[in-house]
Amino acid sequence: MPMHDNMGARCGAVWVIAEQTDGRIRTGSLQLVGHARKLANQLGTCLEVVLLGGNLVGVIQPLFAAGADRVYLGNDPDLALYQPEIYTEMVVKLATEQEPEIMLVGSTSMGRELAPLVAARLQTGLTAHCIDLVLDENGILEQRVPAYGGLVSITCPDRRPQMATVARGVFPMPQLDEDSTGEVVPLDVPDEVPGRVQTLEVIREEPEGVPLEIASVIVAGGAGAGDLDGWCKIADLAKVLNAALGSTRPAVDEGWIGLETMIGQSGKVVSPELYIGVGLSGEMQHMVGITGAKVMVAINSDAKSPVFEQVDYGVVDDCRKFVPVLVEKIKEHRERALSRSSRSHGPTSI
């Protein structure tokens, strides 16, 4: 069990487990490297990145540009797809040798599986889907997550590394210094992996309708829909606005809609022009997923709901009754606008 000695121990490095897709470092990994650079500076230690993949020639420069001092590079055809056994083995072995102080992983599909496998093997703590990471006065990492209408700081004071997965889009893209370089340390692929679990293929699926990430209008629904019938009314509103339909955790838990539509800390990060939150209470777990919306609207039956402190326009009403009326009014507005434009642009009579 790696125990941390606060007295006189040389501080290990800050690590980021980076990811790449189709030969490009993921944006989320670069954002994480940018923030990790600041943490490493404050601790007076190095920033090291671990990158595993199949064809990584010419891929890693952005990691140095974002602030990495050193990249541990596993570049091998066997690593082309995420392979849980080999990836876990390589990260655990390297971490056992190098004893990093902090290990950060993106809250991606891969990160969310790899991080707990690594943390359990290293017998250390792991905080989920952090929205902020700061160092306290003793250099201990405060890992911040929203919970129960508040913000909770989680620390791992005695064991190393301090591990966290980080929600998407919470740190800005760092200034990239194209001239930066650093050390590349090649990693060997272990040959004694048992091969009990194997990723055979990765299949991409395009979601139907407007993808949330690029939608200019988003209608998001929550527990206030009450039942599937109420949820369908919210879906109607999305349809009439040609909006992407998003959700909160309770709506997903109720089975009204799939997990891929969840917005927030453990879901997607969106930045629409118009956001309409229907039957949801504005919990931080959801609201952190909405960045830079121009106009925000909330419809909720509880006048005291915290959601009304986070939007531009609010309507206090039962969403199941209000939303169908709103849909009709939007249709009427469209028809009026259409008839006006056909009058002004229509053929002039002789």
Binding site: E113, H129, Y148, E206, G314, V315, F322, K329
Partner: protein, 268 residues
């Protein structure tokens, strides 16, 4: 015979969970007697196990760690078709983080005897970390696949499954014994039946504490947890850049006015 262990968690009913808040004075959680239910995704795990039992020669054991009231959800899983229930219940288990929880459950599963398959819901609705399942697998030293949405093929002990990704899925081959965490897409959990409830009354629920598991008090609960939760701070979530304008009037009027506002902002 295929031996299946399903890990289940009693969570505050998500429908009422927003009532749980942080006490502004004591900084502790105000639970407000929110009832405990079986974590939603764990019901998909139980359903998967019961479906396998209907098809194969299988034995399904359900294991949970929680306070005495958690027995009701173990009983519910027995009524849904599980054969055996285990509740890890001891003051010493209290305050456990994901690591200490996974450690205790892994010890419980080891004590129950050899398993071919361990199933867990992908995440819990209350803490939502997704960590306990994969950590149990890592501690038991068996392969893990998270976010399984379909079992495509079973060829003896070599299974092929689809695991959900952000934008698609992974096709994964896994050899038993293994631990899978499952998503909602895997199946539709059955409803409780009267005959199930009646037969569950005859089934046994075994309670184990730390002495039964043979674990040290320092290795479980709060003391066995690498992480510490501190600084519960209250965030009002107020967005200082926005000042809300409440749209009032009758339902018709409010809808009409909201449309006007959105049109004026160029949003329609």
């Amino acid at each position: 015979m295929l031996r299946i262990a399903v890990c289940v968690k009693a969570v505050p009913d998500p429908k009422e969970a927003t009532r749980i808040k942080i006490d502004p004075v004591t900084r502790t959680l105000l639970r407000r007697d929110v009832p405990l239910v079986t974590n939603h995704l764990d019901r998909n795990a139980v359903e998967a196990a019961v479906q396998l039992k209907e098809e194969l020669d299988a034995h399904v054991a359900v294991i949970s760690m929680g306070p005495p009231p958690a027995e009701t959800i173990v009983r519910e899983c027995l009524a849904l078709g599980a054969d055996e229930g285990i509740l890890l219940c001891d003051q010493a288990f209290g305050g456990a983080d994901a690591f200490a929880t996974a450690y205790s459950l892994a010890k419980g599963i080891e004590k129950m005897g050899g398993f071919d398959l361990v199933l867990c819901g992908m995440a819990s609705s209350d803490s939502g970390t997704e960590w306990v399942g994969p950590k149990i697998g890592a501690l038991l030293g068996i392969p893990v696949v998270t976010a399984v949405r379909e079992i495509v093929e079973r060829d003896g002990r070599s299974w092929k499954v689809k695991a959900s990704l952000e934008n698609g899925y992974r096709l994964v081959r896994v050899r038993l014994p293994a631990l899978l965490t499952v998503t909602r897409e895997l199946n539709t959990p059955r409803a409780l039946s009267f005959s199930g409830i009646v037969s569950a009354r005859k089934k046994e629920i075994t309670e184990w504490g730390i002495n039964d598991l043979g674990v040290q008090e320092e290795a479980v609960g709060l003391r066995g947890s690498p992480t510490i939760t501190a600084n519960l701070t209250i965030m009002n979530g107020k967005d200082s850049k926005r000042a809300v304008e409440m749209i009032t009037g009758t339902r018709e009027e409010a809808a009409e006015r909201l449309v006007e506002k959105l049109a004026a902002a160029g949003m329609l």
